[in-house]
Each structure stands twice: as structure tokens, then as C-alpha cells.
């Protein structure tokens, strides 16, 4: 019943990349995330599903401290990445975000050229010593995002001129350009047509060779298609976290069952 590829992978890497312990998030007086404990594996796609407002995006944004930019947001508990608490005072969120890339719901390339979009991250972090190295990073990132062949002849044209699916892959290329270890994706295909969605999903499947990918999605089918692990959030609680195959055939919690069979919104 499980993903048939999974037994191939279990032998390789089962190590925990990120683990949250007793994680709480407050927005002002609202308790948005309650007591979340989860271990996110390396080189695995983990899907967060749940009804709107269940906290899955909020929790995703804790993983690269995007919530820091919201004044009223407050995070408690521990989130350990490779054993280090990312909310420790020593950790600079800017540095963390270079290690934990993020792709957003709406494709949001900078209104600059394709080349500038991809090279921006490496430039500000000083990852390239010269133009040749930067060119190489740009090409490698675009290849990883399966976009190189489509745009190699027009790197200087604006990224906003690409189609929706291409823009989203450009955003993925931009995210992988800083050599992150974790890729967070917040509903990366919800604004795309089915073909572009399929391309993004195929890409996610390839990206898990190198990264720990965490994806928030409203489409349960998408979670089922791309992920190996699925976490179901409901009203700020992590209700169930298990192998995707188990979640979709035989979930243990009645709330999970109700949600994935279309009984609660």
C-alpha cells in the first residue's frame, strides 16, 4: 500500500533533518500552533495538509523564521535543524534562510532578468568570487529546476515574461541557487494549470535526491503524489504524521479520515 519507491530509499537516508519539539506559535492572542512535535527527514518530501487556517503554512514559516517579519507573531518551543535550535539567539535569520529556501504560492520572480533572479541570492551571500562562477551557479540552478533548456537563450529577458509554470520553476531555481539544505514550498502549484503542476511535481520528486523538501498543499492528491511523509494539521494541532501511504489508506485519527475523505473542510 505504501509508495513502492520507498523501500528503495529507506535503506539510504532516514536521518532527521528538522525536528520540532513542543512548538507553539501565537499571533497576538491567537494560539495558531499548539504543541507540535514532528521529525522531518532528510532527502524526503514531507507534505503538510489540512483545512484552511489549520496552521500548516504558519508552521512551515516557522522553519525558516519567516514569521519573524510579522510583529505580533511569537514562537515558543524548539525547532532543531541538524540538532541546533534555529530560534537560538546566535542564529541569524538571514543566514538560516540561505540554508532553508522557500518557494511561495504565487510565482513571484523579481521584476528583473532571469539571470538576475537566480544570481541574486548567491550575490548577496557572496557565494561566487567572479562572473564565471556566478554563471555556473545560475546554469546549475536552472538545470536543477528543469528550466535551463527553455530559457538558456534568453537569460537577460525579464523573469516576469515567462509562463506561470516557468515562473514557479524560476523561483525554485532562485531558491536552490543559494545551496540550501531544506526547501519549503507553500502551495507551489495552486496557481498553475495541471500540466505546469505535473512538471512542478516531477521536479519536486527529483529535488528530494538532494534536499529535504517540505510542501504545504491544499490538494490531497498532490500530497499523495509527491510526498513520502504526510502531516495532517487541524485547528493548530498536528493530528497525525505518518507515511503518506498509510495516511491515505488507513489513517488512525478519525479527524484525518474525515478530512481526506472530504467530510470536513
Amino acid at each position: 500500500m505504501d509508495d513502492l519507491r520507498q523501500h528503495l530509499q529507506v535503506a539510504g537516508d532516514e536521518e532527521v533533518k528538522i525536528s520540532a519539539r513542543n512548538c507553539q506559535v501565537f499571533y497576538g492572542d491567537t494560539h495558531a500552533i499548539k504543541d507540535v512535535d514532528v521529525d522531518i527527514l532528510d532527502k524526503t518530501v514531507t507534505a503538510f495538509i489540512g483545512p484552511s487556517g489549520c496552521g500548516k503554512s504558519t508552521f512551515l514559516r516557522c522553519l525558516n523564521r519567516m514569521n519573524d517579519t510579522i510583529d505580533v507573531a511569537r514562537v515558543e518551543g524548539e525547532i532543531l535543524m541538524d540538532g541546533e535550535n534555529i530560534y537560538d539567539k546566535k542564529v541569524d535569520p538571514v543566514q538560516l534562510r540561505a540554508k532553508v529556501g522557500m518557494v511561495f504560492q504565487k510565482p513571484n520572480p523579481f521584476p528583473k532578468s532571469i539571470y538576475d533572479n537566480v544570481s541574486y541570492g548567491p550575490k548577496i551571500h557572496g557565494l561566487a568570487r567572479n562572473k564565471a562562477e556566478l554563471d555556473e551557479i545560475v546554469e546549475r540552478s536552472l538545470r536543477r529546476a528543469a528550466l535551463w533548456d527553455e530559457v538558456k537563450d534568453r537569460l537577460q529577458t525579464p523573469g516576469t515574461g515567462l509562463s506561470g509554470g516557468q515562473q514557479q520553476r524560476l523561483c525554485i531555481a532562485r531558491a536552490v541557487a543559494t545551496e540550501p539544505e531544506v526547501l519549503l514550498m507553500d502551495e507551489p502549484a495552486s496557481a498553475l494549470d495541471p500540466i505546469a503542476t505535473a512538471q512542478i511535481e516531477e521536479l519536486i520528486d527529483e529535488l528530494k535526491q538532494n534536499y529535504s523538501v517540505v510542501i504545504v498543499t491544499h490538494s490531497m492528491q498532490q500530497a499523495a503524489r509527491v510526498s513520502q511523509k504526510t502531516a495532517f494539521f487541524h485547528l493548530g494541532n498536528l493530528v497525525e504524521y505518518d507515511d503518506t501511504g498509510t495516511i491515505f489508506t488507513n489513517p488512525q485519527d478519525p479527524r484525518t479520515e474525515s478530512y481526506i475523505t472530504g467530510r470536513i473542510g
Binding site: D71, V94, Y120, I124, C171
Partner: protein, 434 residues
């Protein structure tokens, strides 16, 4: 498997519903027509007001764009104008002699008759000749062909503004003067070229000589000062308030005050400038620099509000994208948000400056309505500005200033339209690239 929804819609109720909709539709359409009618009427009213305004300004103002000139053959008599006496000399006598050449009947020793004869010429004519001779003393002893403006009354006569069929005692020029003028006209000495003096001359008591140069340069210095102060300060304040300031009561308080400041009457800023800049700091009166400072006070709230709106309109997705790849807060603002907000900021700034360009009251209070016959050489010299010049001319009794006032208004309007056009151009050029 088939999903059959039992049909419970009764045809009768459906029929009455349609009927009710039809009846209310007529009422709604009528309301819409009335509203449209009011809208169209309001627009027609506004356009006709604008047309009336423009027609009245243009119909009185266009006269000022030409100036009646007279051409004279002037013998620069070395006896009257000795080279060593320059720049002093009997330039008026030389001009009178040149006029007298066309009227042999006039006795040039009769001072009253001579004055009457030379009244055709502008008072500035002798200074034009003087400047010419001073610039090139070798002209002494030679005959110079000189084109000088005629005085205001004859200019009005030539432009038909003095009705010849009006009774003589109500006219500014008597029959003899008209006869003399017509004789010169017959000789082909009268011409009506474009009035470049309107732009190249500074102010003067004599309308035929008065120009806007001083006002234009004064306005330029004032606006430059205003821009250099309000633009960086306004943008800086807006960026801080919008992007960096913590959202608390204090920042709310500042925001409310800035919004209120934009609504403060401009004359209040003038009083403030008078007390602070001139009273305390001892800056010179009537100087464009002080005017610019005053206008900057007024423009800054506008720029701050426009900049904040432009910054707000940059989609959050761009900020998130930049933050997501690890840009720091100031990198996000200066490398992404600000460039995208720039067109909006520039549009707001230009509109603020256009407003400042037309502002009169604060400049009056700091003395930029002084009568100054030379263009300012620096922002610290006394000067007027376009709107205050209009104010001065509108106050002057000479008939010639009526059309010049309108002409100055047209010049001011032209600048305002150009600035607004630039703002619209910038807005369209850089609109929504994301």
C-alpha cells in the same frame, strides 16, 4: 449513480418572480439614467467652466506675446555721446533726433513738442541704445538701425485695444498722436514681432519692457531648493515609517500628524517660515532659497504620503521572495521595494512640486513679491516667483499689465501641464512590471 435532484420549483412562483424582477428593473434603469444624467451634466459644467477660464485668459493674454516695435535710423552723434563719457550721454536726444527726421515740422528745440514726439518710444528705448553703444563704442559717429519697443499706449493702439472711434478725451492717445503713429506705420517702420522680452527681460515699471525672467529664475531656484530638501527627507521619512518603524501609538501619532500637515493652509507655512527662517535664522528676505525652504515644508507631507502609498503598493510577494532567499531587511527595501515604488514616488513628488510651483501665499509672506528689475544671480538674491509675479502684475495700474498678467498665467499653466504630463508619462512607463 445518477444524481437526480427532485424539481420543486413551481412554475407559478417562478412566473411571478420574473414579473417582479421586470417591474423593479424599470425602476432601477430609471435610477441609473438619472444618475448618468447628473454625471454628464456635472462634466459638461466643469468642462465649460474650464473653457471659459481658458478663453478669457488666452483672449486677454495672447496680446502680450507680441510687442509693437518701431525701427529707427539713429545717428549716434559724438557731440551728444562722447566716447569718454560712457555710459552717460544724451541718448534721449539722439533718439529724438532720429524721430524728428520723420517729422520735419516738429521743432526739436521745443521740449514739450519733443516729449510728445518721443512718447511713442518706450522709456527703455534709450537704455537699449545705451547698452548697445556701451557694448560697442565704435558705433559712435555712425548710424545705427535700431528696433525699439513702442510705449504701452501706442502698443495698445496698434493692437486695436484703443478704439479710434472713442471720443478723444476718453482716449489715452490724442488725434495728433494717432496721426503721427499712422504716418510711421505708412513708412513701414512699425512691426509687431514675437515678444521675446516676456521671457528674456526681468520685471519693469513699463509693461512693454516687463518680462518674466526674474520670476522664472526665482521659481527655478525655489523649486530646486524645495526638491533637494523635501525629496530626500520625505522619502527617508516615508521609508522609515513604512518599513522600519515599530507599529505603536507613537508612530500612529506621527502618521496622523503628517496627514494633517498636508492639509494645513499654505499661508500658515509662510508665517512659520517668516518667524523661523527669517526671524530666527536671519536668512535674507525675498530670497528663492527661503522660498524653497518654505515650499519644502509644504511639499514634504505630500511626498511622504505619496511615497508611503507607493511602498505599500509593492506586492508583499516581492518582499517575501527577497526575504526567502536571505536578503536582509535593508536589502529588501533598497534593492527591491524602493526601485519598484520609484515611479509612484516620482509621480507624487512631481505633483507636489507642481503644487509648490503654483503656491503664492507663503511666498508673499516671506517677501518674494518684491519689485526687482534684474534676474537673481543666486538663490540668495532677492527675486520673485511666477505666481507672485502674476500677483504683482495683476495689481499694477498700467493697461499693458492686464494682458501680461494673463500671459504670465499661461506660462505658469504651461509649466504645470508639462510637469503633470511628465508625472503621467512616468506612471505609465513604469507601471506594474511585476
Amino acid at each position: 449513480m445518477t444524481d437526480i435532484t427532485p424539481s420543486d420549483a413551481r412554475p407559478t412562483s417562478r412566473g411571478t418572480a420574473t414579473e417582479a424582477v421586470r417591474r423593479s428593473l424599470a425602476r432601477r434603469n430609471r435610477k441609473q439614467l438619472v444618475l448618468q444624467g447628473f454625471g454628464i451634466a456635472a462634466i459638461i459644467l466643469a468642462i465649460s467652466m474650464l473653457l471659459i477660464l481658458l478663453t478669457s485668459i488666452i483672449s486677454t493674454g495672447y496680446h502680450a506675446f507680441t510687442q509693437t516695435h518701431i525701427q529707427l535710423e539713429v545717428y549716434v552723434d559724438p557731440e551728444e555721446i562722447p566716447a569718454e563719457g560712457l555710459p552717460r550721454g544724451g541718448f534721449d536726444d539722439v533718439l529724438a533726433a532720429a524721430m524728428g527726421a520723420h517729422f520735419p515740422a516738429v521743432d526739436l528745440t521745443d521740449r514739450a513738442a519733443t516729449r510728445e514726439l518721443t512718447s511713442i518710444l518706450s522709456n527703455g528705448a534709450q537704455f537699449i541704445l545705451r547698452d548697445k553703444v556701451v557694448a560697442d563704442p565704435s558705433l559712435i559717429g555712425q548710424t545705427v538701425t535700431l528696433k525699439v519697443p513702442v510705449s504701452d499706449a501706442y502698443d495698445q493702439l496698434n493692437k486695436g485695444l484703443v478704439q479710434r472711434d472713442t471720443a478723444e478725451q476718453f482716449r489715452r492717445v490724442d488725434d495728433a498722436a494717432i496721426a503721427r503713429f499712422d504716418r510711421l506705420d505708412e513708412l513701414g517702420l512699425i512691426s509687431t514681432p514675437l515678444n521675446t522680452a516676456l521671457i528674456t527681460n526681468a520685471d519693469s515699471r513699463f509693461p512693454e519692457l516687463a518680462g518674466l525672467k526674474g520670476a522664472l529664475i526665482g521659481s527655478f531656484w525655489a523649486l530646486l531648493t524645495c526638491f533637494l530638501i523635501s525629496f530626500p527627507l520625505g522619502i527617508g521619512a516615508a521609508i522609515y515609517l513604512e518599513e522600519f518603524a515599530p507599529k505603536n501609538r507613537f508612530s500612529d501619532f506621527i502618521e496622523i500628524n503628517i496627514n494633517n500637515l498636508a492639509a494645513v493652509p499654505s499661508v500658515v507655512f509662510g508665517l512659520l517660515a517668516l518667524a523661523v527662517f527669517i526671524g530666527w535664522f536671519g536668512l535674507p528676505r525675498s530670497a528663492p532659497f527661503v522660498g524653497g525652504l518654505t515650499l519644502a515644508l509644504m511639499t514634504m507631507p505630500t511626498i511622504i504620503i505619496a511615497t508611503r502609498a507607493a511602498l505599500k503598493s509593492v506586492p508583499p510577494s516581492i518582499r517575501e521572495a527577497a526575504l526567502g532567499v536571505g536578503a536582509s531587511k535593508h536589502q529588501v527595501v533598497f534593492q527591491h521595494v524602493l526601485p519598484l515604488a520609484m515611479p509612484g514616488i516620482l509621480t507624487g513628488t512631481i505633483i507636489g512640486l507642481a503644487q509648490a510651483l503654483g503656491e503664492t501665499a507663503p511666498l508673499l509672506l516671506i517677501g518674494m513679491n518684491a519689485f526687482i528689475t534684474s534676474a537673481p544671480g543666486s538663490p540668495f538674491d532677492s527675486a520673485t516667483a511666477l505666481p507672485t509675479q502674476i500677483f504683482i502684475w495683476a495689481d499694477s495700474p498700467e493697461r499693458g499689465f492686464v494682458s501680461r498678467t494673463s500671459a504670465a498665467i499661461l506660462v505658469l499653466l504651461t509649466f504645470l501641464i508639462m510637469m503633470n504630463a511628465l508625472a503621467i508619462f512616468l506612471r505609465n512607463r513604469f507601471e506594474r512590471k511585476w
